[in-house]
């Protein structure tokens, strides 16, 4: 919504037609002699060798799955084997055109891409760099293990190191590249430019796009490649990523220093089958995958269909696309046709394709074709080819022998250390307080919104104890703004985006004023693409940046489900701790807007291992916890209640400090002391609980302690247990639907941890298990003061019972029977 971009009715209403940039199909026609002259015979032989290594490696995996032995090595491989046999030309061809600082992000079928990219990087890196990479990884242990059990010198050692690290990872051994935490579908090794493969179809599209965003922001050389299959073009998040990478603002609004589309290549290995669904003619509308480029932008994404069975054609296309991307003309799309001659997995019976079709494609096996060409043109003799295959076979055999040997490739010792995997879930470390001023358009003191903050009272009550309005005292919104302002102005690696984040200041004004001081490349409006917002934030973080992104409503978490649950939450652990995911995902929790805009889904997020979860209720806590979230090297989901944005500080008598401070994540806070009953609240339930505590004090003489959870994950139970030891009663109040909620987890754990101190079972008061009604009926849904009083006097202190005031006169057991 920038004002300088005007939507002119005259222009929009003019008659015309849309023309599309044409999309070449199989345009490669360079003579082999020309390639030979340009590349030299050694390079051509290496292309064949690399394809053979990929083929033999995957053949080994397939053979293990099918027969339990490879050559004379018996082994039961339990994991997946999604083989790319027949697709080696695509992987090796692409790698030829990429440098070590070009980063590929793969799919579940990406062993070949990993191997090809790494082999190409090993070819290109000088011996000292290779040695440094091997010496640095796990303090040289994998290199030493490779030397001892497989051998090799120089580049041969580096190749064996790479194959051994990968195969050990596939076998989930502790010496695998990712400590055995990634496996076949996720293995990666960043020093060779091989970034995570992804078991979710199309999962890398958004992540590679975010990594490309980081490359652009940090002005790093190189491109990012999103490797995916033809089937992924049916996935919404892939389209979101392609559009995100093409946003017009990169050219129309961003300043010269960062102008241009994102340097990301969407590389679709089109093997014509999405497992068993046939993309052409059955499951997709396109007859040529490359056609979809025309839907995204006026350049048709520079899309082309190319021959993936010819590595030279692939290398040619990737080199041309890379040049475009480095000129700021990205993104680009390649439809790389390469028939998968093996099954989707080893249980594939090929029921979806005919024998004739399989036979017809045999003539286009990339290895057979390439070696025939080399022999025909006299680059190699048939004897040379056989010898090369023999050597490759021996190498894979040696690597396999080492990888199945528990002495060379130790099994991950979970039995000896049962929380070993748990310890990999989080870094639990933070960056130092940011302190490097970054270039700004204006200084904060020159912006009205920030001057307004300076005029406000830091405490929310006046001298007589009256509550000040949000115009006169710092609000929860302001607390968030202050920490975000601090980090954005002192940490250039941090970028913020989401829907309406710039001029609007975020739908709820948390970024108000920031667009006046930050250039577009630090704060921008994203498309309404929740999946892309989160996936790119993850990619940006994996590539070394820090990300602050927003979902306008927590109810839109479903739109970014995979990206939050499988990407943001998992990559630190799945990388064996190699990668960090410093992403803060802000989610506002609505009210008054009914069933799809008012749900507290903090429990849903807390259920997913790998995410830290915060839900503050006061300005002081919001500011301090936002500072901690932005400092955390772990992914954080930060919930903000829309009802509380204008809330002023009522607890810290000194008010919300103007200076920067952090509040540790995971520490609940006692907001009111008492002796007879403990109420533990999550999010905005703090306020009805405090009002109920006041009322119970007056009406029933009960002294109620109120504890604000502040964080859900992690959660330090100590204060709650101490409180329960004193009171013996615990009521947990939350606005989440009760069934399966985090409040239930708290209740269950306190029952275990403090069983002897409890005078009654803890009670959870949440929202009922039905839709959030609109504003007029909301008080029948979210727990109210009267509901809290009814539970306390009705269940914990029957002697104080008064006629029920609230509306919850239902039988929870009956409701459960009725699916409620």
């Amino acid at each position: 919504m920038p004002k300088q971009l005007v939507i002119e009715p005259e222009h929009m209403r003019r008659k015309g037609e849309i023309k599309f940039a044409s999309i070449p199909v199989h345009s490669y026609d360079r003579a082999f002699s020309e390639e030979r002259a340009a590349r030299g015979d050694a390079a051509l032989k290496n292309i064949l060798r690399h394809m053979m290594i990929v083929r033999e490696f995957e053949t080994m995996l397939g053979t293990f799955k099918a027969t339990g032995a490879y050559r004379d090595i018996p082994f039961t491989y339990k994991g997946p084997a999604h083989l790319s046999i027949g697709q080696e030309g695509a992987a090796v061809g692409a790698a030829l055109a990429l440098a070590p600082n070009d980063h590929i992000f793969g799919s579940h079928r990406s062993h070949g891409e990993f191997i090809a990219k790494s082999l190409a990087a090993i070819d290109q890196l000088d011996p000292a760099s290779l040695e440094a990479i091997m010496a640095e990884h796990e303090d040289g242990r994998l290199r030493d293990g490779t030397a001892a059990h497989i051998g090799g010198e120089g580049k041969a050692l580096a190749e064996n190191f790479m194959l051994f690290g990968l195969l050990s990872e596939i076998f989930m051994r502790s010496n695998g590249f990712n400590g055995g935490m990634g496996g076949s579908m996720h293995a990666f090794f960043p020093p060779f430019g091989a970034y995570p493969n992804n078991a979710i179809v199309g999962g890398s599209a958004g992540i590679a796009t975010g990594a490309a965003l980081r490359k652009k922001l940090a002005r790093e050389n190189g491109i990012c490649v999103a490797n995916a299959g033809d089937g992924s073009t049916g996935c919404g998040p892939v389209w979101e990523a392609m559009n995100f990478a093409s946003m017009a603002q990169f050219n129309a609004l961003w300043d010269e220093s960062r102008k241009g589309g994102l340097p990301v290549l969407f590389f679709f290995s089109n093997n014509f089958y999405a497992m068993g669904g046939q993309t052409i003619g059955e499951t997709m509308g396109w007859e040529r995958l490359s056609r979809i480029g025309a839907a995204i932008n006026a350049d048709s994404m520079h899309a082309e269909t190319i021959d993936g069975t010819n590595p030279l054609a692939v290398a040619d296309a990737v080199a041309r696309k890379k040049a475009l991307l480095l000129e700021g003309r990205g993104p680009a799309l390649l439809d790389v046709e390469c028939y998968r001659s093996a099954g989707h997995s080893t249980t594939d019976a090929n029921v979806y394709r005919s024998r004739d079709e399989l036979k017809a494609w045999e003539a286009f096996d990339p290895i057979v074709r390439f070696q025939t060409q080399l022999v025909e043109d006299g680059v190699m003799t048939e004897g040379d080819v056989l010898e090369m295959r023999e050597i490759v076979g021996r190498t894979i055999e040696a690597v396999t022998r080492a990888a199945v040997d528990p002495e060379a490739a130790p099994i991950v010792n979970v039995e000896g250390d049962p929380t070993l995997i748990g310890k990999l879930m989080f870094t639990h470390n933070d960056i130092a307080p940011p302190s490097s001023p970054v270039p700004l358009i204006k200084q904060p003191e020159d912006v009205a919104a920030f001057r307004q903050l300076k005029r406000k009272s830091r405490f929310g009550l006046d001298a007589d104890g009256n509550i000040l309005s949000g115009m006169r005292a710092i609000t929860l919104r302001d607390g968030l703004t202050e920490s975000i302002l601090h980090h954005m102005t002192l940490d250039e690696s941090l970028v913020a985006y989401g829907e309406e984040c710039r001029e609007w200041g975020g739908a709820f004004g948390v970024y108000r004023g920031l667009s006046e001081i930050l250039p577009y490349h630090r704060l921008f409006n994203s498309p309404i693409s929740e999946a892309a917002i989160v996936a790119t934030a993850v990619g940006h973080a994996l590539e070394g940046g820090r990300s602050l992104v927003e979902l306008m409503y927590g109810d839109f978490i479903g739109r970014a489900g995979d990206e939050i649950f499988n990407q943001m939450a998992k990559w630190h652990a799945m990388s064996g701790g190699m990668l960090n995911v410093p992403v803060v995902l802000r989610c506002s929790v609505g009210s008054k807007y009914g069933a799809q805009h008012s749900q507290d889904w903090s429990s849903l997020i807390a259920h997913i291992p790998g995410l830290k979860v915060i839900y503050p209720a006061t300005p002081y806590d919001a500011k301090g916890l936002m500072a901690s979230a932005l400092s955390s090297n772990d992914p954080v989901v930060f919930f903000e209640s829309q009802r509380l944005y204008d809330t002023v500080e009522k607890f810290q008598p000194e008010g919300v400090p103007e200076d920067y401070y952090r509040i540790p994540i995971g520490e609940p806070d006692i907001k009111r002391s008492g002796n007879d009953l403990t109420i533990l609240t999550i999010g905005p339930s703090l306020y009805p609980a405090l009002a109920a505590a006041e009322a119970l004090d007056k009406s029933a003489g009960l002294s109620v302690e109120v504890i604000d959870a502040r964080s859900l994950v992690p959660f330090n139970y100590d204060k709650v247990l101490e409180s329960v030891k004193k009171t013996g009663f615990l009521l947990i109040v939350s606005e989440a639907s009760e069934r399966g909620s985090f409040a239930m987890t708290l209740s269950s754990n306190v029952s275990r941890f403090a069983f002897g101190d409890l005078k009654a079972a803890p009670r959870v008061l949440g929202s009922p298990n039905w839709i959030v009604p609109g504003a007029e009926m909301e008080s029948t849904y979210f727990p109210q003061v009267a509901d809290i009083i009814d539970v306390v006097t009705g269940e914990f202190f029957p002697e104080k019972k008064t006629p029920a005031q609230g509306s919850r006169n239902w039988d929870a057991r009956d409701l459960a029977r009725m699916a409620l």
Partner: protein
């Protein structure tokens, strides 16, 4: 000669007051109807207010940085 007040608008159910952030016009300036006169700020957003009539801007009744209640006159537009 008529005087038309420029009022602090109601910008949402729960908003009772807002800040006068920046006067874009000064007393004595001639303004067209719908010309931008003043920027106001609530807890959540900033907004430009337009002149309700053409004429000459009168005295500024709420200086920059001060709060005004919803419905309060911020200035008067004097028109012939």
């Amino acid at each position: 000669m008529t005087s038309t007040p420029l009022l602090m608008p109601q910008l949402g159910n729960e908003i009772t007051e807002a800040e006068v952030t920046e006067w874009l016009k000064q007393p004595g300036d001639t303004v067209e109807k719908d010309e931008l006169v003043v920027i106001i700020t609530t807890t959540k957003m900033s907004m430009e207010l337009e002149a309700p009539a053409a004429g000459k801007l009168g005295e500024i009744l709420v200086p920059e940085g001060e709060l005004a209640e919803v419905g309060a006159a911020l200035t008067m537009i004097e028109s012939r």
